[in-house]
């Protein structure tokens, strides 16, 4: 009874990353669970109000604690995710103040059971090494509605940060 988080299933491995083999089942991965937030539409409205100089709310910013009260995932979401993780023996987790992200450390074999379909491999680019899955993952039906995405499974870093284009690129000369 697994559901694919279909909107987060870009599994393309960029050409410049070289496959370096399957990761041992006992190696650890750290996955980031983006829990569904509450009141995102209200957050959008508030941003409009505090940023619009014509609004009487302009500049009346929120503290991180107030942001937390607004977007914190529902108790149901938090319970569902924790129950799901605990049922797989995943307990080494930490959250953030806003409680909408959860990061958990677990062996690869547990991660692959948690996210059916995923298969973790190592990829290298130069002296950099990453662990990612090139196949789509699913999550249990009961938790799919409580998650936006799971980080650390598919996305590779871009080839370079923007910039770094010092050169030589343009042979200008005065006059």
């Amino acid at each position: 009874h697994a559901a694919y988080l279909e909107a987060d299933q870009d599994t393309t491995v960029p050409e410049d990353w070289v496959h370096a083999g399957r990761v041992s089942p006992v190696e650890e991965v750290e996955l980031t669970f983006a829990l569904k937030q509450q009141n995102v539409e209200r957050l959008r409205e508030l941003l409009q109000q505090v940023s619009d100089p014509d609004s009487d709310q302009y500049g009346k910013y929120l503290t991180l604690e107030e942001v937390t009260s607004l977007v914190r995932p529902s108790d149901l979401t938090q319970k569902a995710i924790l129950l799901w993780l605990n049922s797989h023996g995943v307990t080494n987790c930490h959250t953030v103040l806003t409680q909408d992200f959860l990061q958990c450390l677990m062996p690869v074999q547990v991660a692959e059971m948690l996210l059916p379909g995923s298969e973790f491999h190592r990829y290298t680019r130069g002296d950099r090494s990453l662990i990612r899955s090139a196949s789509p993952y699913a999550v249990h039906n009961d938790v799919s509605q409580h998650l936006d995405f799971v980080g650390g499974v598919h996305r590779f870093p871009p080839k370079s940060e923007v910039g770094k284009s010092w050169s030589g690129r343009r042979q200008t000369s005065p006059g």
Binding site: V50, D52, L64, F101, L130, V162, S167, T172, P174
Partner: protein, 367 residues
């Protein structure tokens, strides 16, 4: 006459006097690094010794969040730190460094988590990082947007480099090409910074477009209300546009603003390096200027600027140097022949509203 962009050149062009430095107690600014890029404190000190004359400045980063790696400094990291501390002079500066301590981590995501986990963070963040919009899932980008909103409602300004590939190019099936927007530059909830060059590269003249300046229209995010009028004016008024099949004219258009992005001097690994270019140079420069404006706002008891775009677009280009010459690059094919969008009077998708005229911008944003 000059031999490349230095703090003195920038401060002259953008009308910053020696007195235009930070002094408010609670002001701060930050740069973030996500790849294996590290700044070296000795480089910053040497840079300020060489180029920091004539204005009061700091030569030390106040706080490093994350673990700096060993080994050589990266040009990108050196550039960001050296220039945000030159325009945003004498303002406490943080460096977020997130190379990813575990092979399964996503450094950009790690940074977003940090923002949600620190109650008191700098008011201005500049980030030179981006990925092709089409390589990311909508679910992921929507959630990252929510994270930007969380920062915005806290009064934090997020500035992203617009990218160094002009309009970009994506090769589709059957030989069809389209422009390729970059995210987070295309997010409606951040302020995106494009790039310019001096008309005469060796003199402090007016600015023209830097042809690498990233810009265009999102294929994912609708055009936000704050920019509809400005963008429609451009689309109706500009003399020539690329074929409509290349871009989504109803998407979020970027960049919003620009600054010089060509021919910078940077000190990296104790060596002064010329000809460093890219919107990763213009972004910390504009970020530092916003920090200076925050500084003056704080001294007057006003709140920080926060998410700038709604206010920026209401200025209608007032207080910015409009950039009206030149085009950026795009697909090398028969239809567009490497030419993307072109600058025009008022807002355009190459340089946004233009580059900062500090005294005028300060006045406008203190009102």
């Amino acid at each position: 006459f000059h031999l490349g962009v230095t703090p003195a050149v920038l401060r002259s062009r953008y009308n910053l006097t020696a007195a235009d430095v930070g002094s408010a107690a609670n002001n701060s600014q930050a740069v973030a690094q996500f790849l294996e890029q590290f700044y070296h404190p000795a480089d910053l000190a040497e840079f300020m010794t060489m180029f920091g004359g004539g204005f009061k400045h700091l030569s030390v980063v106040d706080k490093v969040v994350g673990k700096q790696g060993g080994g050589k400094a990266g040009i990108e990291a050196s550039l960001d730190v050296e220039y945000i501390m030159s325009s945003g002079a004498n303002i406490s500066t943080w460096v977020f460094t997130n190379p990813g301590r575990h092979e399964s981590q996503e450094p950009f995501l790690q940074w977003m988590l940090l923002l949600s986990n620190i109650s008191s963070i700098p008011w201005v963040h500049t980030i030179s990082y981006g990925d092709d919009e089409d390589s990311l899932s909508a679910a992921y980008m929507d959630r990252i947007n929510a994270e930007f909103m969380k920062a915005g409602v806290r009064g934090i300004s997020m500035l992203f480099a617009s990218g160094d590939s002009g309009a970009g190019c994506r090769h589709m099936d059957r030989g069809v090409n389209v422009f390729r927007p970059s995210f987070p530059a295309s997010s409606p909830y951040v302020t995106t910074v494009g790039g310019t060059s001096f008309k005469n590269p060796y003199k402090i003249t007016y600015e023209v477009t830097d042809y690498i300046s990233g810009g265009g229209f999102s294929n994912v995010f609708a055009m936000p209300d704050y920019q509809v009028s400005a963008v429609n004016s451009y689309l109706k008024g500009v003399q020539s546009l690329p074929p409509v099949s290349y871009y989504n004219a109803s998407g979020r258009a970027y960049p919003d603003i620009a600054a010089l992005s060509d021919n910078y001097w940077v000190v990296s690994n104790r060596v002064p390096i010329p000809w460093v270019s890219g919107t990763s140079a213009s972004t910390p420069v504009f970020g530092g200027i916003l920090s200076l404006i925050n500084d003056q706002r704080f001294l007057k008891g006003l709140p920080s600027l926060g998410f700038l775009n709604p206010r920026l677009y209401k200025l209608q280009g007032r207080a910015l140097f409009d950039v009206t010459e030149g085009c950026h690059l795009s697909c090398l094919d028969e239809k567009v022949q490497g030419k993307g969008f072109c600058a025009s009077p008022s807002w355009d998708p190459v340089t946004g509203w233009g580059t900062p005229n500090y005294p005028a911008l300060l006045k406008a944003l203190l009102e």
